[in-house]
Amino acid sequence: MSALAASIAAQAASRLPAVLEHCRSIVASASSSPSSPSTLVLEQQRLGAAIQAYFGCADAADDRQRRASAEAVLAGTLADLILSECRESLRAQAAPAFWAVLANTPQPDQSNSGAIATWLAKNMQAAFAVLEASIAAHETLFEAVLDFAQSIPSLSAAIRAFNVNTEAGAIVFARPLPEFAAMVEQFVTLSYWAHAVVHDDVPNDWHKRICDDVPEEAIEALQQAVGAATAAVFSVCQRRKLQHRVLMPFVLSQLDILVKAQTEAMANLFADSCHEAAGQWIDTYPAPWLRHVLGESDECDQLISYLKTQWLSQSLAALRTTELFDIIVDYPESANALSDLRALLIHPQQRAALVQTLRASFERRLLHPGANTPDILTQYISAIRALRQLDESGVILEQVCAPVREYLFGREDTIRCIVSSLVDDAESDLRDELANTNASANADSDVSDTEDATDSWNPVPLNADLTQPSSLRKTSDIISLLISIYGSKERFVDEYRALLSDRLISTLSYDIDKELRNLELLKLRFGEANMLFSEVMLRDITESKRNNTSVQERMPESVKLDFPLNVIILSRLYWPNFKTEPTPLPKPVEDFMKAYEAAFEILKPTRALHWKHSVGIVTISLDFEDGELEFSVAPAMASLIMLFERDDPWTLGELVEATESSTAVVRKRLAFWIAQRVVIESPADTFSVISKIADQGVPLQGIDADSDEEDALHNIDGEAGEEAEGDEELDVTQCFMFVSMMLTNLGSLPADRMLTMMGMYAPTMPIDDRSFRRFLSNMVADGKLATSGGEYQLVK
């Protein structure tokens, strides 16, 4: 530094004092001989004019005012002259000296990070050392000028405003080298690298690049060199107040890179509280670095606190907002991420953005035909819980989930899914919720607004939709929320009835303990009156068990079967309507049933039994030459396959005759056995049974069997429903005629009532509860009927 700096200092020193000397002599001579202004030789006319004016009015000694103003002009002009000399000196010496250091050493290849680092460390340090030296030299000079100016008060005031540091910064960096910005940027990045590599926190790719270019043993030395260079450069910048001019933009962009990297590193980490960790990270890494770069100052503290409370926080909040869908999927494991987000949501517009983003991701990821209804429900339930934690006012939940609720309302199997997850054996969220009886009280009644209004008043956020009742927003009861999708409990109750009926009939035992427990829970939820039918249904099962035992004891030996045939006797008004269809059963079974009927009437003389032949479940085993296959199927299926025992093959016509059913029905039943690969159709309309299991052919068996097994079980009334679809054309016209007549006469009616009346007026029409309801909803969809409060009416 020394030689160059010394020469600059010498040059500056040589020029400025000359000027000052000159001025001093002008002033001295002017004041010593006021009467001879003509002897003055002026270098600059302006100064000359000022001096002339000054001395001109000095003649008129009595005019004090004029004299004073002329003195001020003179001082100002003198100050201008001195300051412009100073600036000129900085421009002519300090700036070129500084830039020469950087410009004269050839830069290394940009691809070699190690070389760049070394080069920057060396030359930046040198350049700033030169700068420091020349500013220091000018400072010394300027102090001399100030000393001189002390003698003229108005001159001293004008000069005092001059700040060497500011002027030097402005002049030196007014015309930087084109590559200077890139150099500083790299230098700042390097400084963070040197700072962070010590702490093993190296988010930028410099580390990797440097490690690629520099042998491992040299890294430490390089780090130390860079550390020393940055310390030197930053201290120059701090001393000469150059941080803003030189460093700040690059410090900020470096921070931006760090914040982005840190945010990225926190992506998908829902299990831990990242908000706190982020604060710690700032304290550990960027904060000391910032103090190192900017020095201990208020500004630096402000920047650190801004980084903590705004910059990284908002970046994290934005990240969590976009990840919210996944956070909900992971809930409750992601509870920490939610409390982070909760703490970070401070601006109203963040909430609005969150609602928008989450709605969009629900629509994109969930509300499409590819998603299973149970999955949508699970996510919805999870969302209810998670968003409650995020915002207990329930406004976010309400706004985000409105489309979900609408979509669920439109899905046909939603109710069935909700109800079955309420009562299924498998552990499910809803089941736990049902068992959680605390919440059940408000399923019915509106929560009164007054009771929680007293001690902690928490106003509803601005973006709340005030047209909605607040009770729904506040309730945290998931089942109530699900039920409210449909507006009333009736559809749930009906669906539960259908489901319970399926379950009771398809269980081969009379064991209903579990159903009883469910019933008790549901009673709490839906009220005893709504659950009466299922109480009767369950009692039917227990009664049947008792009656069955006594009836079986009274059965004559002659009709005894070689397998157990147990009977469930139902109270018909309390069960869903079963569609009965002619189902001829094997002779021994028919005989047994007749005898059973007689025995029952002995037991209950005033009552009669009516068989539902097509309903029930039969476990059969098909014995082949090489093994056996077991199936649980509807009685009609069993009877059909039994025909093949007697005769093989059958034509379609023969089967239709033997089963007294329609071609379509026989085909449908055969389709089950064909799918099971027990029956083969070959040639067309001729059916035969395989003789060996080996003939089944292995592939697809596993997949098909599962789903079809289910079909066979649900056949209890599922089949009836499906067949109704087959004959729908006929039904719809007829049915609508009846329905429209009823509604014309009676205004509006609930579905049950209409079905009962249909049973009276059109007993021949094969219609059951479910297909009738489907028919009604189709009519509503077609705009022929309108529904409100569970009652239907004609659209006028």
């Binding site: 397998f563 139902l570 009552r607 029930g616 014995d623 056996e628």
Partner: protein, 82 residues
């Protein structure tokens, strides 16, 4: 192939052996129960009077014990006898 039945669950419904569908007093279905009962069947039995009219037992008992009924069958106004 041989079919072996292992288990057969059959389903039947019961009905009272009565011509009418509904009770003349409470207008509820016979196969359901009277307005005071919750469970049909044995818990809410039917009774036949000597006049052959049939009611829910609870309904007719209430009826014949009411002061204005004079122990008459509500359908045929004959004296009610079990």
């Amino acid at each position: 192939m041989k079919v072996r039945v292992k288990n057969w669950s059959a389903v039947a419904v019961w009905r009272w052996k009565v011509d009418d569908d509904t009770c003349g007093i409470c207008r509820m279905a016979f196969d359901g129960c009277c307005t005071d009962c919750r469970l049909p069947g044995d818990e809410c039995p039917l009774v036949w009077g000597q006049c052959k009219h049939c009611f829910h037992m609870h309904c007719i008992l209430k009826w014949v014990h009411s002061p204005n009924a004079n122990q008459l069958c509500p359908m045929c106004r004959q004296e009610w006898k079990f």
